[in-house]
Symmetry: C2
Subunit: 268 residues, 2 copies
């Protein structure tokens, strides 16, 4: 990891200390190592460990496929065996379908993320094993892990490549670092504007209703309160900005003239 | 969609009626349409709509890249404009970074999935817009959508390809159809076995402790209760299967003989 200063390179904003290592066991194609690095960095994961990559290391195809995530590749560490790659870790997980002959706890990526965050909180180093593209992890690798990670997807068609499997696990890791509200709330940003003040909205309503009264639209009078209420609710649901309220007042003013204008900039 | 019977083809297990349509606006590379189809089918999504794919349709590169998800490609529908592609939908979302000049609700893919499920429950058709690979959606597309979908990832390195963006949105959709416990619990499957009965576990403990008593391991006697408790807890944490309890009894029996056996199958 020497020589890699993520902060200096400006890639460290989403990266927390104590994130899990991504351990690729016997990856076959350099291109897949590159796309995996890209998937990792998207999720704030930077520690890649490689166990016997088939085509040697470093691999120029990996760099070409990493779309700029070469910082992950440059700091990747190489191991001869899976045992050595996990030796310093306190919690090891393995991504795999359930084997038919092993009794092994199975967790969802969301549960995995919660366990990894708990380990991060007590400075316990963690890692996740991913197998060779064609065959996946073998039993000798699964026994290194305390739990298996299984991504529930369409049982009739489950076809993820290596980078996609890493992306889904990393995605849950990254989301688990966000506030719960970021996952479940709707955000309404007002770029270059502010939510309108209630009084300005009320003045717009009164302007609109006065003009509508003048045209006879809000008749008969016994229906007026309901019509006004419905109109106000419609505009309130839009949660108007200050600019939009000004625009709407212009719209009403122009419409109420009953005559087309040549140039709106001239004013009424 | 005529001629496509997912049930018949055995691909329908994870697919629910009322899933959102995935709408690709002016996709550039056929290969990306194919990998998107693959990502969709992984997540039980089968309705693909294409608006002006750059290289025409059908596209042989799409099929080659779909890894068997050609059922999605075969039933894809083609449109000339984004407006036509969303005309029949009641809720339209657009995947995009936040524009600087638009006031538009922004939701997380998890929130999106919850909203889509709610719509599914009342038979409201829904769709999600994805833009061209290089440029993303333009403002003319964003105004078709009631909300934007934003995937929070490493702010210093956010680099998803089209299929990966669809995969993350589809992943949340698929997971939202599972029981909450499937996401947060640990599952311990016992393939070919059953969890051991308490009595069998107790008999193993007594067997082990009797043999250890005989060897003098559980001395001094005032420490015996604590040592026994720790040993029992260790094995209980493993949540043994019936087979494993039998194996452990054999282990104790063999070890207790203090003599190596030539062939374990001969028995003690």
């Amino acid at each position: 990891m020497a020589g890699t200063d993520l902060t200096q390179r400006g890639l460290g904003d989403g990266i927390a200390a104590g994130a899990p290592a991504i351990i690729l066991i016997e990856p076959q194609l350099g291109e897949n190592i590159g796309t995996t690095a890209r998937a990792m960095l998207n999720c704030g994961l930077t520690e890649m460990r490689l166990v016997k990559p088939r085509d040697g290391w470093p691999n120029p195809y990996a760099q070409a496929a990493s779309s700029g995530a070469d910082v992950v590749l440059e700091s990747a560490t190489l191991f001869d065996t899976a045992e050595e790659a996990v030796a310093d870790l306190e919690h090891v997980y393995a991504t795999s379908a359930r084997p038919r002959d092993m009794i092994k706890p199975v967790v969802h990526p969301r549960r995995l993320a919660a366990e990894l965050r708990r380990a991060q909180g007590v400075q316990a180093p963690t890692g996740i094993l991913f197998g060779p593209e064609r065959t996946g992890l073998r039993n000798e690798h699964l026994v290194l892990a305390e739990s298996l990670v299984e991504v529930p997807l369409n049982p009739a068609f489950c076809s993820l490549n290596l980078a996609q499997a890493v992306l889904l696990v990393g995605y849950e890791w990254f989301q688990s670092g966000l506030e719960e509200t970021a996952l479940t709330d709707t955000v309404l940003p007002y770029p270059g504007a502010r939510p309108a003040k209630s009084e300005d909205v009320r003045l717009f309503f009164e302007h609109l209703e006065a003009e509508l009264d003048a045209t006879g639209f809000l008749r008969p009078l016994e229906k007026r309160p309901r019509m006004v209420r419905n109109l106000r609710n419609l505009f309130l649901r839009a949660r108007l900005s200050d600019n939009e309220v000004r625009t709407l007042r212009g719209v009403v003013r122009y419409l109420a003239q009953h005559e087309p204008q040549r140039d709106p900039e001239d004013g009424p």
